[in-house]
């Protein structure tokens, strides 16, 4: 690793111990990668993992009557340091990706008083050091939209694949320690998807089916991820152009099944005016075809539920857009949830306040469902009591719910999921899932 004079000075301690450690960590990480240098970043999205279940157990006990030492937590869990630093303000614009709860729905989410206290402690620390608590896996939906070519340091695979592919920003999937170090010094190793070469496509996928609905886009992403693993697919033959919701679900699914961090859609995404533009001379490893058979194959991987009695419907993975919230509100208008079921929809706090204003929230809550922010069932491990069978419109959530929360899980369209919450029964499936499209604007979600 070659450091500039100013980077070396920070590593040597010119800006204090915490930034020196952060710079050293990024250098060791860069060396491990095989990077030759660091690059400036002013856009960091990371997790304060100390608050999430699983990592919480590593925190030392807080003596009775004392406040938790958050500098200690950040030094240990986020910077991998052996000593506790006095953590200074972050240097880069930094955004937090998720909290362990919705502070306005902590009771509904059944969050323990201890966990609520940890969330408060983390929130207070974020304010102290200048981390913006967006608390959403979709920062790009609430104003953190990088420009093409901007070097970022983001965690959260569904957000990374979105900004790399749809926006043309440049980031690898960072981890808690690299994002936290980047926040303190405004640097990240220049490697991987920061470089032109890594961004070139090396798989071709011909789309031989009218992929229209959000569910189909999700399934296509999941299938392609399963096949190409962590390579860079180039999609050709897209019929109707997608909208941001569909690309959000496509990318989240592709990153969950295979670890894709970047894709191209010829004629749609910014680094793929044509196939040649996307590939730029890179060797193509394999050509795949995605048709109706592959769509059905992808759907068949998901039926993990046996009972059709649905206790819990989860919508908003990744966090729902305003259009998705509107769709759920319109589907719930004048209806009431089954006494045996629950419906939680997750959206960023900023979009929730928009939904409050226009009245989507009132419609959703009147039906007995909950519009929630800041959190997520799978990561925050929040769910109603006694759940055994869940339904969701997200391939990513359907991928994680059975593994993490051990729920049997149905996958369907948003309308099928809302119907399941209203009737308490699963009647969805791939066949007929687009029927609702007749009542929704062209190009809309289903």
């Amino acid at each position: 690793m070659q450091l500039t004079d100013s980077e070396q000075a920070v590593r040597d301690g010119s800006e204090g111990e915490a930034r020196a450690h952060a710079m050293d960590l990024l250098c060791r990480y860069g060396k491990a990668l095989g990077a030759e240098r660091l690059i400036d970043t002013n856009n960091v999205c990371g997790g304060m993992v100390g608050a999430l279940p699983g990592r919480r157990d590593l925190l030392p006990e807080v003596p009775e009557g004392e406040e938790r030492d958050m500098d200690q937590v950040y030094s240990l869990l986020n910077l991998d340091a052996d000593k506790t630093f006095d953590i200074p303000p972050v240097k880069a614009m930094t955004y937090r990706l998720i909290d362990a709860m919705d502070p306005d729905k902590a009771d509904v989410q059944r969050v323990s008083p201890e966990s609520q206290q940890i969330s408060k402690d983390v929130g207070k620390f974020c304010s102290k050091v200048g981390i913006n608590q967006c608390n959403t896996c979709t920062p790009y939906q609430i104003g953190n939209v990088p420009v093409m070519g901007e070097h970022c340091a983001w965690m959260e695979s569904s957000a990374v694949i979105y900004i790399n592919s749809v926006i043309g920003a440049r980031t690898n999937v960072e981890g808690a320690h690299s994002a936290s170090a980047a926040a303190l010094v405004g640097k990240i190793p220049y490697w991987g998807y920061h470089t032109d070469d890594y961004r070139r496509g090396n798989y071709l996928v011909e789309i031989d089916h009218d992929v229209e609905s959000m569910l189909e886009w999700g399934l296509m992403g999941y299938w392609i991820g399963e096949k190409v693993k962590n390579n860079v697919p180039v999609l050709t033959g897209i019929g109707a152009p997608p909208n941001p919701n569909k690309l959000k679900h496509f990318g989240a699914a592709a990153a969950s099944s295979g670890g894709i961090e970047m894709y191209h859609i010829a004629g749609v995404t910014p680094e793929a005016r044509t196939v040649d533009d996307a590939v730029r001379g890179r060797e193509i490893r394999e050509k795949l075809v995605f048709g109706k058979k592959q769509l059905e194959e992808a759907y068949s991987w998901f039926s993990t539920a046996k009972s059709r009695d649905v206790d819990f419907v989860v919508i908003g993975c990744p966090h729902a857009s305003l259009e998705q919230v509107k769709l759920v509100a319109s589907l719930l208008e004048g209806r009431t949830l089954s006494a045996n079921s629950n419906l939680w929809i997750f959206t960023p706090k900023a979009l929730k306040s928009m939904a409050d204003r226009i009245g989507y929230t009132a419609t959703i809550e009147k039906a007995g469902a909950h519009l929630m922010s800041d959190s997520c069932s799978a990561l925050s491990r929040v769910y109603p009591e006694g759940v055994q069978v869940a339904a969701t419109d997200s391939c990513k959530q359907a991928h994680y719910l059975p593994a993490i929360l051990k729920f049997g899980t149905w996958l369907g369209s948003t309308e099928q999921c809302v119907d399941a919450a209203v009737t308490g029964k699963w009647n969805g499936g791939l066949a007929g899932h687009k029927d609702a499209g007749k009542m929704i604007a062209p190009g809309a979600l289903q």
Partner: protein
């Protein structure tokens, strides 16, 4: 390619994390997940469809293709170190940001880019010395 019992094979590659360690090897041809893939308290692989499911890499030389899954990979492997359940060293093939950061915060010797496929040369149970500083692996075949 595999040597007779008691013979040695030397592999040369690139340093990822400095340091020297030796122990018995545990070898897999399947990538490992952090989140949902391992129990950080015991070092056991818990992914149901994984060929190492139920086996622990604690104190062993972990030979594997690399990391897969959630961006929390490094946090889960840092947790194995804090719980005393980390592998003694890592030998891997596919470089990713998860893998690099995970090796750094697990703080064990690590090498990659070896001149022969480590999963073919090394068998579970072989005695392996990893010189992470110089990128050299010495295998004593069982």
């Amino acid at each position: 390619m595999i040597g007779a019992a008691g013979t040695k094979t030397i592999l040369k590659g690139r340093s990822v994390v400095d340091g020297v360690a030796e122990a018995e090897a545990i070898v897999t041809t399947q990538a490992i997940s952090g989140f949902g893939g391992i129990d950080s308290k015991t070092g056991e692989v818990i992914e149901v469809r994984h060929e190492l499911c139920g086996q622990s890499f604690k104190g062993k030389i972990l030979v594997f293709p690399g990391a897969k899954g959630s961006s929390g990979w490094a946090s889960h492997f840092q947790s194995t170190r804090l719980a005393g359940a980390a592998p003694a060293a890592m030998i891997f093939k596919i470089m990713t940001t998860k893998m690099a950061l995970g090796a750094v915060v697990t703080r064990v010797p690590a090498v990659t880019d070896l001149d022969q496929d480590p999963a073919e040369v090394i068998k579970s149970g072989d005695w392996v010395k990893v010189d992470g500083t110089n990128g050299i692996v010495e295998v004593t075949h069982k």
